[in-house]
Symmetry: C2
Amino acid sequence: MNPYSNLLIYFTSQLEEFKKDLNKQPAELYQPMQYIFGLGGKHVRPLLTLVGNDLFNGKSEDAINSALAIECFHNFSLMHDDIMDVAPLRRGKQTVHQKWNHNIALLSGDGLLVVAYQTLCKSDGNHVRQLLNVFNKTGLEVCEGQQLDMNFEKRMDVKIEEYLRMISLKTGALLGCSLQMGAITANAKPVDQQHLYEFGKHIGIAFQLKDDLLDVYGEQHKVGKQIAGDIISNKKTYLLIKALESSTHEQKKTMEHWLMAKEFDTLEKIKVIKTIYEELSMHEKTNAEMNKHYQKALGHLKMVRADENKKYTLQQFADTLMNREN
Amino acid sequence: MNPYSNLLIYFTSQLEEFKKDLNKQPAELYQPMQYIFGLGGKHVRPLLTLVGNDLFNGKSEDAINSALAIECFHNFSLMHDDIMDVAPLRRGKQTVHQKWNHNIALLSGDGLLVVAYQTLCKSDGNHVRQLLNVFNKTGLEVCEGQQLDMNFEKRMDVKIEEYLRMISLKTGALLGCSLQMGAITANAKPVDQQHLYEFGKHIGIAFQLKDDLLDVYGEQHKVGKQIAGDIISNKKTYLLIKALESSTHEQKKTMEHWLMAKEFDTLEKIKVIKTIYEELSMHEKTNAEMNKHYQKALGHLKMVRADENKKYTLQQFADTLMNREN
């Protein structure tokens, strides 16, 4: 049970109105925006904005433009990431470039980023500059994270520190930003904003590590995507990088063989790599790193000066994100 | 001789500093931004921002962030347009996606749009909201114009009114916006901002019509690109659309034959189409439309309440844009 179901209901109803306003011409520019909003998702990021706002007793109406802007930004980045990853599906449905074409996905994504700013600029005049500063900084960080992620595809020597920095930029920053923007609209003090940001950032890192784990150890019917897809595609996850780092000479040679193989038996590859992960206790090590960031996050939440009950609810919500099975 | 050489020198020196600040990591994200700024160009748009500011006796320092943001936006749109147009060259140099790759051009363009906003947000607090409103509106209009332009590629029945609307969005809006932002930073009255915007918009439309003319009637060594490239690629220009609209049955059949032809003798195609353009006085008709917008522009400039000498200088500058040979 989502402790924030009221905020979620409020957000989704506002998003519906927002989508209606995108009934504009040319249709090829605006329909893909409506389409990607319609693919669902858990709305974690805009919800965190409303939660950050509520934590400091702000009114949700004051944070809604920030929440919608965050949702626009997230979907803009998904639209463009899907082009870059040549992904045919998102949440089981055709991606925008697949349903329309590359140029439309590119341009509609651009337009959606402008719409994000347009929406953010509707915020109260006392907050808009602070909001924009966080939003701009985060926007660039997400781009930096995505570029690093692409760079890692071609490298075999990625360090764990580099990986953690990448997911901090690509995933952590936007979660931190979402919460901080809510804190801003509720007039929270800068020091509280900062702790809440750090809480969100570390939750984001832990969230991504959980993602890496679920790819290998999740149950297919729950995760809803191909199990061990990261292993098949040689994606540089925490598990792969850490395993390469801590493997014996023999294990490393075996892994490199499978990473290089152009043609291979998929099930055999998964089996071999998973066996090495097991020998190296990668499940436990990734869990430990995840918990480290989760604990860091909680340390920052503790420092936030706000209602203890509300903070506890936020911690419980973070728990559900960590312990999710999909 | 550019009457604004001092403003141009100021802008280019500031742009150099700005480019240095983009010496950041990951290089694959930031180097393409520096590269596209380095391709030169006439800096018409940011110059217009400084000119709009000067018209109302503003200090250039107050408008420089707007001018730089406009330059970022323009280059972001070039980077993405070049992907969409599969263009190998820009100003005689490799385009970004050609020099690096598609994903880098896509992501670096995204980053550059965020940098545009980041730069704009450094503006004085009294102006930032007004500036953002114009900038956001224009950003979406440019996307709309680009989408319409792409839609027109697949249509044979584009109307002259649709074409004029498209170039008004794709080219006119940003020129109007550039001038208006300068007016805003100099605290011009809304009514004066609006007339200056309309002046810029119509100059932009006339500017694009001049472009259409130069493609067919320019001298190759001056224009610096393939002459009649628009005819070869069936680009929907004012000349082509107007010619299709006003042609006899016989002329229309001939044009459609060449538009449909998959393989053709390039020189022969150019010759035939140019002959029809001549029969239909397309040079004169396009010139007339161009002048109509130029006159509209001057009408709006007349309404702007500002120093008459400065207005006259701006008119002369617009003259040089209209009478350019490249």
